[in-house]
């Protein structure tokens, strides 16, 4: 083998080695996945849609179970904990959403646990639209 042939063989060997390394590396260079969208909100903290409400105020269904389901779907959760056996009160905040609050069973309507921040905002003498549902 001439010196030139030996050089060429070494170069060919190196090239094959490089090919092997590239082939080994190729499947290990994984496609980058962009970070997924994440929400810091938990269920009940935000009612959607937030910006494209229907033209007219929402109308509640007549039947009680459907009415409760509809209200739950369109209500944000208050911060007060729900005691066992408490009824669910829904205070209407806007044409398109309600606030769900705990209501003591058998309590008069006036004592519905509207948060103080909300109660303090109500115009004098005004009563908010409220729905109460108690489990039998």
């Amino acid at each position: 083998m001439t010196p030139q042939e030996s050089i060429e063989r070494r170069m060919a060997a190196l090239f094959i080695l490089a090919l092997g390394l590239i082939a080994w590396q190729a499947p290990r260079t994984r496609p980058l996945q962009p970070p997924a969208f994440s929400s810091a909100l938990q269920p009940g903290e935000q009612v959607f849609p937030a910006a494209v409400p229907p033209d007219a105020p929402l109308r509640l269904p007549g039947e009680s179970a459907a009415r409760l389901a509809f209200l739950k779907e369109h209500a944000v959760e208050g911060f007060a904990p729900f005691p066992t056996g408490a009824c669910q009160g829904f205070v209407r905040m806007s044409a398109h959403h309600w606030l769900r609050v705990p209501v003591t069973r058998g309590a008069p309507a006036a004592s519905i646990g509207v948060p103080s921040e909300v109660a303090g905002l109500l115009p004098a003498g005004a009563a908010p639209e409220v729905e109460v549902f108690c489990e039998p």
């Binding site: 190196l14 994440s38 409400p53 909300v118």
Partner: protein, 749 residues
């Protein structure tokens, strides 16, 4: 040709046809995706901060839909009605309907009872909105433009393709609004992802424009140099197949056309033909000397002659590209890997398909230069004072080099996306922001009045920094809500001194169905808060300056211990990625130089000659860096790539000159001619990048072309200046042919 050869050739062509069919199908499935995250080191702190910001405050990557009416202000009832109409039209798409935000016209607290509406929140009128824009921070900065003629709607930017869908829906809604109020509104869709999508499209557009030009130029140059359209077509076929197979590999490996990989086709097209050029020249030179020898024998001989230098150059070019693979920047890793695969494809085609087809090409008349295969360069340019003077003159330019880049600099200045981004910087908070994440480590809550005050004071200090255009923070939310619940004619009240009052105000965000706004600034346990600082521009200089100021102010306002301060956001990502890409270049260049030296030295056992090849390319790159410094060309994400490309491509010239098989000086003259032709063809081919509408790609093209010229020059000065003297011009063709024939016969024996 024997029947066996014919059979082998037919089989080979069949395999090739199958491979082409497979590759075409794969390439058709390629997607374009541009994302800045791919250019950030996987371990970058900014990514960890951004992850924490997303987990704590939710993703806030948004698309801004800006509706401008030059004739009406946003407080005009018609304008407000049109914004609602536009929102409802956008809401035709269920996903967008759920997630679209409107900070301007959403229902507000009204202190007076509204007849027939027994609830607290009602659509605001123009007078209330005007007061809110004057007195509140969030609404004033995000709800409407400073001119008060633009309303902003926001949609979350889930992904690049999602943003494209939103943009399409917005254009449709805008068309409906146009029917309603002809000529009144202009829609702008703005966002970081819009810029990245636009960049991806611009690069793809570039690719479609530049690739045919590159192919045409190569065809013309090859046709002119070799006086054969068949040979030119063969070069095109080789380049085309190389690009096709490489892009198919990109798809098979699951990658997309991205900011980095978009350049690969043009680079490979030009690089692919460099080896062809050497092979063609050698083949024609042999045909000139041995007109009666069968073409297959000649072509085999040609391949053997160029095998070592071509393999060495392919290997060092692949090493140059592959040196990006160990870097921590995913986009560069993919670029390095795919480009090195492409170089291997190119070598494979040059050593297999091209020789076979070359032997079949009918050649009626050989070009004249095959008889006198050397070119002259004036000795003054190669010896003595000139190279030294050139070096002394250019090298100080390196001291003037600066790093500068920014996403909007990647478009031509009059591009609509750039204009929209600049408009948004003036009209609102801008697209790019720093997120300052402050986490209390002493167990206290940011809702404590003194701590909230300290946040406000820090925000005011940073607000005065040049480069910062706007800021938003938790104190803004508290004060805005306090104003909304009070007298609309009054100024925004100061922060309450009572923690219960602060927390009460913040709770109203949930009650008013705006918890999403609060979550953007306050962690669930109230121990983490985020301040947003928008920057005037997205360039490296501005971001670096603002980051420096933020660090100083943070150290002063929140001494370590009680508060952990971290910085993320799109502006910080831009700053870090420019820094990391440019520093990755330095590492990969050093790595590829060392690897190339070891490879050449090991294969040839001529360590000193190999080192001279390396020194020649280092010299060439230093000259180009000097030119860039003197010319004021900044180094950025794309432009700094020329260093690694320069090593990969420019090293070839030194290798051919140092390791080309020189049986005598005439053979060496042929090698030099090929090298100079190579510099010329590759330089012209790559100069197509100068036509790019993307200024950064054009700048990269310029630097690469300069690198080619410089590396060709330094290689010739280093290795063979002695052979290019004018006094060797008058070589007699007969003597040359005789000497070469002797060499050839030696080879045959």
């Amino acid at each position: 040709m024997s029947w066996r050869s014919r059979l082998l050739l037919s089989l080979g062509l069949l395999v090739l046809a199958a491979a082409v069919t497979f590759a075409v199908r794969r390439v058709e499935k390629l997607r374009i995706r541009a994302n800045d995250v791919e250019l950030l080191p996987a371990g970058a702190e900014v990514l960890a901060v951004d992850r924490e910001v997303r987990d704590t405050f939710g993703s806030d990557e948004r698309v801004i839909l800006a509706l401008t009416n030059p004739r009406r202000e946003v407080t005009d009832p018609v304008f407000l009605d049109d914004v609602r109409f536009f929102g409802a039209a956008m809401g035709g798409s269920p996903n967008i309907r759920m997630l679209l935000f409107d900070r301007l016209a959403r229902a507000r607290f009204a202190p007076q009872a509204v007849p027939g509406e027994p609830w607290l929140l009602h659509p605001p009128d123009g007078a209330w909105i005007a007061a809110a824009l004057r007195h509140t921070a969030i609404r004033g900065k995000l709800g409407a433009g400073r001119s008060r003629h633009t309303a902003f709607l926001e949609a979350p930017a889930f992904s690049g393709s999602g943003v494209k869908d939103i943009e399409e829906e917005a254009r449709k809604a805008s068309a409906r609004l146009e029917q309603r109020r002809p000529g009144e509104y202009r829609l702008r869709v703005i966002g970081r992802q819009v810029v990245l999508n636009g960049l991806g499209e611009a690069l793809f557009h570039d690719l479609r424009l530049l690739l045919p030009w590159t192919l045409l130029i190569i065809f013309l140059l090859f046709g002119w140099i070799f006086r054969s359209l068949w040979m030119a077509a063969l070069a095109l076929l080789q380049s085309g197949l190389c690009v096709l197979f490489t892009m198919a590999a990109l798809q098979v490996l699951g990658h997309s056309i991205s900011i980095t990989t978009a350049m690969i086709p043009v680079l490979l097209t030009v690089l692919g033909i460099a080896d062809d050029l050497h092979l063609y020249s050698e083949y024609l030179h042999l045909r000139q000397q041995h007109p009666d020898t069968p073409t297959f024998s000649l072509v085999r001989q040609g391949v053997r002659k160029v095998f070592f230098p071509c393999t060495a150059t392919a290997l060092t070019t692949a090493i140059g590209f592959a040196s990006f693979v160990p870097t921590d920047v995913p986009g560069l890793c993919v670029f390095g890997l795919i480009a090195s695969i492409g170089v291997c494809f190119s070598w494979l085609l040059t050593m297999t398909l091209v020789p076979v087809l070359l032997a079949l090409i009918p050649i009626r008349r050989l070009p004249g230069w095959t008889r006198v295969p050397s070119l002259s360069i004036h000795p003054l340019l190669l010896r003595g004072a000139f190279p030294v003077a050139l070096t002394i003159l250019l090298l100080p330019g390196i001291l003037r080099l600066r790093i500068d880049d920014g996403w909007s600099q990647n478009f031509r200045p009059d591009h609509p996306i750039v204009q929209d981004v600049h408009w948004f910087e003036k009209e609102s908070v801008g697209v790019y922001q720093f997120d300052v994440l402050l986490t209390r480590e002493d167990g206290r809550a940011w809702t404590e009045p003194a701590l909230l005050q300290s946040l406000g004071a820090f925000q005011r200090e940073v607000d005065g920094t040049p480069g910062v255009t706007a800021s938003l923070s938790l104190p803004d939310l508290v004060r805005d809500r306090a104003w909304e619940l009070g007298d609309p004619a009054a100024e925004r009240p100061p922060l309450p001194a009572d923690r219960l009052a602060i927390e009460g105000l913040l709770r109203t965000y949930r009650y008013f169905n705006e918890d999403v706004f609060l979550r953007m600034f306050l962690g669930r346990d109230a121990r983490a808060t985020r301040l947003i600082f928008a920057t005037a521009r997205d360039d490296y200089g501005t971001s670096t300056q603002v980051r420096k100021t933020l660090d100083e102010r943070l150290r002063r306002a929140f001494p370590p211990g009680a508060v952990r301060a971290r910085i993320g956001g799109s502006a910080e990502r831009g700053r870090v990625l420019i820094q990391s890409v440019t520093s990755s270049q330095a590492i990969s260049v050093l790595a590829s130089l060392v690897m190339s030296w070891l490879t050449l030295g090991f294969a040839s056992r001529r360590w000193w000659t190999s080192l001279r090849c390396i020194l020649a390319i280092v010299w060439a790159l230093a000259l180009v860096l000097g030119v860039a410094g003197w010319a004021g060309i900044p180094l950025g994400v794309a432009s700094s790539c020329f260093l690694a490309l320069g090593v990969g491509i420019g090293l070839d010239y030194g290798i051919h000159l140092a390791f080309g098989r020189e049986e005598d000086e005439d053979e060496a003259g042929a090698v030099q001619r090929r090298v100079m032709t190579n510099v010329f063809v590759v330089g012209i081919g790559l100069s197509v990048l100068l036509l790019s509408a993307n200024p950064t790609v054009a700048r990269l093209g310029l630097l690469v072309v300069l690198s080619m010229a410089a590396s060709g020059y330094t290689a010739i000065v280093t290795f063979s200046g002695r052979l290019l003297l004018a006094d060797r011009l008058h070589r007699r063709p007969a003597k040359l042919a005789e000497a070469s024939r002797t060499g050839f016969l030696k080879e045959e024996s």
